[in-house]
Subunit: 174 residues, 2 copies
DNA sequence: CACAATTTAATTGTCAACAATATAATTGGC
DNA sequence: GCCAATTATATTGTTGACAATTAAATTGTG
């Protein structure tokens, strides 16, 4: 069975282009991060902490768009490696503050060259890189705003998806 | 500790924009795919099979950039759901042919509206969508070409990464 | 103060992604 | 034909992502 052209064609899907390029990026980082002894998601957590430390689990999750089910075990591994500390906040024992250790701070210096290493692997020039990054951030924010979350309480945003673009409910396939 | 500007700034990273937008896309698809009873990676496999069935595990992996360690259990779940069949090839018993069942083919009709549903959630117009998709495919292919794989045998491509762009091996941070 | 509602993390279970390894079939010298 | 190398898939173990649930602390209202 061969279906050459359809809106469901794999190579036309933005979703698959996103998915496969994101995985490809992870694989590109892997050998570089292996020298630092961390994985790609762990690197993202370190990026957030290098920018601001300490951060609560919730605040970290808000910046990375990840929940505690992902961050808690991930942070425990970073703690075992000695890169971060995890402590209950004194004034509100519900909060867990995640902070860089001295070793965690020192790792930043070794990570500094990474963005330029990766830039070379992308084949992009700086303006293209910034343009693509900007487009993706816009896309992400739009998707987050228009996707109803499974949160228990009310969404404090205006509305999940009232009717963002009243265009083509259905159009003839190309 | 606050570090306002650095090349390591989280929100400047293409890698994080990719990562977070890809996860956001997965979450956007989730409630729609739940009605079809499949997950997002399962949907990608079905997309590939709707385009061409049967496909060997290896060929499927080549199209999706996934290996057998991911695809084998995923395909088994689709088989249990009755959407695909898995059979050893007669002429080469090493190959496993994955083919759509009648139910798998029927599911395509219910998936047809999805791309347009998602398009609305993205807030993009068609030209922007196609441009972004194209940029991401180019990026993915460049990253794959420049990332040395852990394959046992020799890489049959020219070379992992001889010296694609001999620019800035290191530059002063901004 | 008491207590229900809320907030915050952690836990549990399922599905994924992948390195490393194992298993089985095939191919190519000899 | 025999056997080493190769090819193709499956298995195992680790890390991640997330829904659903649990546990604990805090807040607000009476």
């Amino acid at each position: 069975m061969v279906t050459p052209t359809s809106l469901l064609n794999l190579d036309r899907q933005l979703c698959f282009a996103l998915y496969s390029s994101s995985l490809a990026m992870t694989k590109a980082y892997k050998p570089l991060l292996a020298e630092l002894g961390i994985t790609y998601p762990q690197y993202l957590v370190m990026l957030a902490l290098w920018q601001h430390s300490p951060l609560g689990v919730g605040e970290l999750g808000a910046r990375l768009n990840l929940d505690s089910g992902t961050l808690t075990p991930l942070a425990k591994r970073l703690q075992v490696m000695g890169l971060i500390d995890r402590n209950r906040c004194e004034h509100d024992e519900r909060n867990v503050e995640i902070s860089l250790t001295a070793a965690g701070k020192l790792l930043q210096a070794r990570a500094e060259p990474l963005p330029l290493c990766i830039l070379q692997l992308t084949g992009l020039q700086i303006p293209q890189l910034e343009s693509l990054t900007s487009q993706l951030k816009t896309l992400r924010d739009e998707l987050v705003a228009n996707t109803q979350t499974r949160a228990t309480a009310a969404n404090h945003s205006v509305s999940p998806n009232p009717n963002p673009t009243p265009t083509a409910e259905h159009t003839p396939g190309n």
